[in-house]
Assembly symmetry: C2
Homo-oligomer: 193 residues x 2
Amino acid sequence: MARADVRAAMQERILETADRLFYGQGIRAVGVDTIAAEIGISKRTLYNHFPSKDDLIVAYLSRRLKPAPPSDRPPLEQIMGAFDRLERTIATGVFRGCPFVNAVAELKEPAHAANRIALAFKEQRRVWFQGLLERLGIATAEPLSLQLQILMDGAIAAAIVRGDPAVAAAARAAAKVLVEAASVSGPRPIPSD
Amino acid sequence: MARADVRAAMQERILETADRLFYGQGIRAVGVDTIAAEIGISKRTLYNHFPSKDDLIVAYLSRRLKPAPPSDRPPLEQIMGAFDRLERTIATGVFRGCPFVNAVAELKEPAHAANRIALAFKEQRRVWFQGLLERLGIATAEPLSLQLQILMDGAIAAAIVRGDPAVAAAARAAAKVLVEAASVSGPRPIPSD
DNA sequence: CCGCAATTACACAGGTCTGTGTAATCTATG
DNA sequence: CATAGATTACACAGACCTGTGTAATTGCGG
């Protein structure tokens, strides 16, 4: 039964490289030959695992759809931590924006599966925000969660153009103001944590 | 001297079409042949006006660098109006995000002139926000202007993925909260308008 | 050790793209 | 009308892309 394992390992190697190149240079800018050459396999082998470039694109995006690991930190700390992580991501290594937004912007076909995956990702993050806000006892958790998501996406877009991690800190400060405003004007939070 | 006028008119026709196609389908996705065919001129003529596709891209982006027309409406109204206009833009016609962010994301060369133009555009808008905030007597006008710009960019990015103009309204509401929070905590605004 | 599946090298079809070369034609200006 | 510049049609080079066909080779499981 090691055959399936070997096959899965090869697929993962392909996806790792595709991720690095697709994200770093753009999906349209990277050819299938380039990915195969980077790994050191033949193009034929790559097509044996992914029957078309579109399949590879979908797999590349799906692989990035990992739900956030549950944490026992206080909700507000988790929310602020998301912006801190973004700031570190912008500062460290290759930052080229949100891979999902880039994919949607780069693939002109409106019915592409990338749109569905991108929407799923954004909604997943928004719901994560919403859950934390509800634990803070905030009544307007749903609209506020969308606003936090907008701040995240805005910091990412601004960081692409400005190349400055400070935009994440600015977004974080804005998020803090919004959450606090919703806390005082809404019902009292449950002081459980 | 009508020769120069005719030449300028042709350049404008080319740029109009390039704008529509570049923005609507992506810079990399649209070939020079397609633009020429759409206008009904030969590819040779297009290359007579723009010696390379890169020149055309730069001209396309530069043409969108128009400063906002001065307005005598109250500053807060102008700020909120920017989000209202964004909401209408998302809802009406072809919306494909911010052309400058898209260009930077699509062109992998980090030294491309598009980066400079995109930065100039974002900074132009931020300074416009800053001036209005200063007229409101807000002490933290500069950092707040960056936060408003982040909200704009975030609403744009979220709208691409969600296809829902409501994100602009959410961003607008968040902007209102941020401006009001900065107004009450800072020095009193000058009640001139 | 046999056989099967994966992998490889290599060529190629068919399409796209940017940019140029050329010779003919059109058009407005002097 | 004459001339110079703009435009046209058309071919083509050179590069890149996705995807396939084929035959030889490798390596692992039974």
